[in-house]
């Protein structure tokens, strides 16, 4: 029997502050406009992306290609609605773009594209690519003696991919302490529980044994995320893995831990009413 992490229990019960609710309204507004979107994977990510973009990344929305900026890659590209909400809110592009999500002339597709969306560092969507690209970026920083850091956000289902573990071995080999892997551990992938599809436990031990300094936390706890992310590198000479225990669909009771909300098409009137109750009018 797998021990349930106290962080996972905390993720289920913790409440969300107004900024987290606001960001959820942005995400769900895009889903309402487009009549589609990966709801669950975006809602589990929001606090991870929020703390990164609000408090951690050294970035300038007016100079998104600044060579000294920190790099962040959303390797689980299907969580893009959370990223788009943060990028729009931080001024990388107008908030009005969110209404065009997946539209024929939109810059915002169902997976984020480099060169299309200001602030997006790499096109993702096919899973298992982001950590390798991140290793390349982090290694380049080392070789060029630059101080930027690289953060890669991975899904738990995503780390089924063998390429992630190739990248992990490589990051450890190079001692990339300027690289941080953040795992959105919501324990539910497209079909169902990760424990059913392809068990990941003992997950922290896996990352540790691959040479990472590992931290675990409640991925909806903004304060905990700030504390840990501001401490990186946790161990000099080692890449960091932060296992963020989250809840798929967090903040929307109907969607929480419900695989049917992995991807959602048109929202019904009753679903829209339930969303308003949960996150406020939008």
């Amino acid at each position: 029997m797998i021990q349930i992490s106290p962080h996972a229990e905390a993720a289920l019960t913790c409440t969300l502050d107004e900024r987290s609710l606001y960001l959820r309204r942005l995400v769900l507004g895009s889903v309402r406009s487009a009549g589609r979107g990966h709801v669950g994977p975006a809602l589990s990510l929001i606090e991870m992306v929020r703390v990164l973009y609000d408090d951690v990344l050294r970035i300038d929305p007016n100079n998104p290609r600044d060579p000294d900026r920190d790099r962040a890659i959303l390797s689980k590209g299907h969580g893009c609605l959370a990223l788009y909400a943060l990028l729009a809110d931080r001024g990388f592009f107008p908030l009005s773009e969110l209404d065009g999500f997946c539209g024929p002339d939109s810059i915002l597709g169902g997976h984020p594209e480099y060169g299309m969306v200001p602030g997006v560092e790499a096109s993702t969507g096919a899973l298992g690519h982001g950590l390798s690209i991140g290793v390349g970026l982090a290694l380049a920083a080392r070789m060029r003696e630059r101080s930027y850091r690289t953060f890669v956000l991975l899904g738990d289902g995503e780390i089924n991919e063998g390429s992630v573990w190739e990248a992990a071995m490589s990051a450890a080999k190079h001692g990339l302490d300027n690289l941080v892997a953040m795992i959105d551990y919501n324990k539910l992938q497209s079909y169902g529980p990760t424990d059913y599809v392809l068990p990941l436990e003992p997950l922290a031990d896996k990352w540790r044994s691959f040479g990472f300094a590992v931290q675990e936390l409640n991925g909806h706890d903004v304060g905990a995320l700030r504390t840990v992310l501001k401490q990186v590198p946790v161990v000099l000479g080692k890449p960091t893995a932060i296992i963020c225990h989250t809840v798929k669909g967090k903040g929307l009771p109907a969607a929480e831990s419900n695989a049917d909300w992995h991807h959602k098409n048109k929202l019904t009137d009753s679903e829209l009413d339930a969303i308003r109750v949960a996150v406020g009018d939008f």
Partner: protein
């Protein structure tokens, strides 16, 4: 050809600090001199091709020009999605140096024989596909790779292939080289089939058939202009490739002729490997011979097709 290409990576690295060598698990001592001179730019990253391509993409995003090197099948089949998404979609200047294009690894069996690599690499938007014919041409190609936009797939031959390319022809990626002016027949080649085409052309000449040779070292972007120029007045176009019949040089030639000429097409003969995995070993030469790609067999096939192209068209008789 392989040693030349490898040494060129070292030479380019001496000139340009952006150049990296990234091998998976190459033979002991590969680019040892470079590893001593530039230890930080000589990276051996393990049997993890999918990761290596992604990592190279990240390095290229930061201004490096990685030359990634392993066996052709592992650089194409194993990590195709990474090549498509990380390299081609982002249009990054990563160079894939593929050892053992075609049947070079004949004795090692079908896992090591790159018989469809041109097709699958050519299918990717933004990819450039180059198949040099000999070591001299490989060196000229490598000189041009430093500042080429986007990814390049470089299909290397065995090494020790007869030198048939000529310095006076120069070398530009995407520019075919007319090795012999066409007569009734034009052979279009890529890679080491050029050597066989030259020998076949000599055999055909002895039979009174003048066969030209257009060396299409770059299969993508395809030099349609050179092909259209060369096929003027030609009755038979024969393509020669060490590759399955679908998607390679023969396909590119046929597509171009159909798209650009529409009607009045010359007869066409596509000489290639069959559409199946090889279950014989031996050598590259013995397998090519078995599949009708020796110089003599090429000449015979062309002679027959040439005769057929001259035969009167079948007439419909009414009574």
């Amino acid at each position: 050809m392989r040693n030349t290409a490898m040494n060129m990576v070292h030479k380019l690295a001496t000139r340009d600090e952006r150049v990296l060598y990234i091998g998976s698990d190459p033979g002991a001592g590969t680019l040892r001199a470079m590893s001593k001179e530039f230890p930080k730019r000589h990276l051996i990253e393990g049997i993890s091709e999918a990761h290596i391509i992604g990592m190279s993409a990240g390095l290229a995003m930061e201004g490096f020009v990685p030359y990634v090197n392993t066996i052709a099948t592992f650089l194409t089949r194993r990590c195709y999605e990474q090549v498509a998404v990380d390299l081609c979609l982002h249009n990054l200047p990563v160079r894939l140096i593929a050892n053992g294009g075609g049947l070079v690894y004949a004795p090692l069996g079908p896992t090591h024989q790159a018989i469809e690599d041109i097709a699958i690499m050519r299918a990717l938007p933004n990819m450039t596909v180059v198949c040099p014919c000999d070591a001299d041409e490989a060196a000229r190609l490598m000189e041009k790779t430093l500042d080429w936009t986007g990814p390049i797939y470089i299909r290397l031959g065995k090494g020790g292939d007869a030198i048939v390319s000529k310095a006076e022809h120069g070398f530009e990626i995407g520019k075919a080289i007319l090795m012999r002016p066409p007569g009734d027949v034009l052979m279009v080649t890529t890679g080491i089939m050029l050597q066989r085409a030259i020998a076949a052309a000599d055999l055909l000449a002895a039979q009174g058939i003048r066969a030209g040779i257009l060396h299409m070292h770059t299969v993508k972007p395809f030099d349609a202009e050179a092909l259209l120029q060369a096929v003027r007045g030609v009755k038979l176009v024969a393509t020669l490739e060490e590759h399955v019949p679908s998607g390679g040089l023969g396909s590119a030639v046929a597509e171009t002729l159909i798209d650009k000429l529409g009607s009045g097409l010359p007869a066409m003969l596509r000489l290639s490997l069959p559409d199946r995995f090889m279950h014989n070993y031996g050598s590259q030469d013995s397998l090519l011979k078995k599949h009708g790609l020796s110089a003599a067999a090429i000449a015979t096939s062309i002679e027959r097709a040439h005769a057929a192209s001259h035969a009167p068209s079948p007439q419909l008789h009414s009574t």
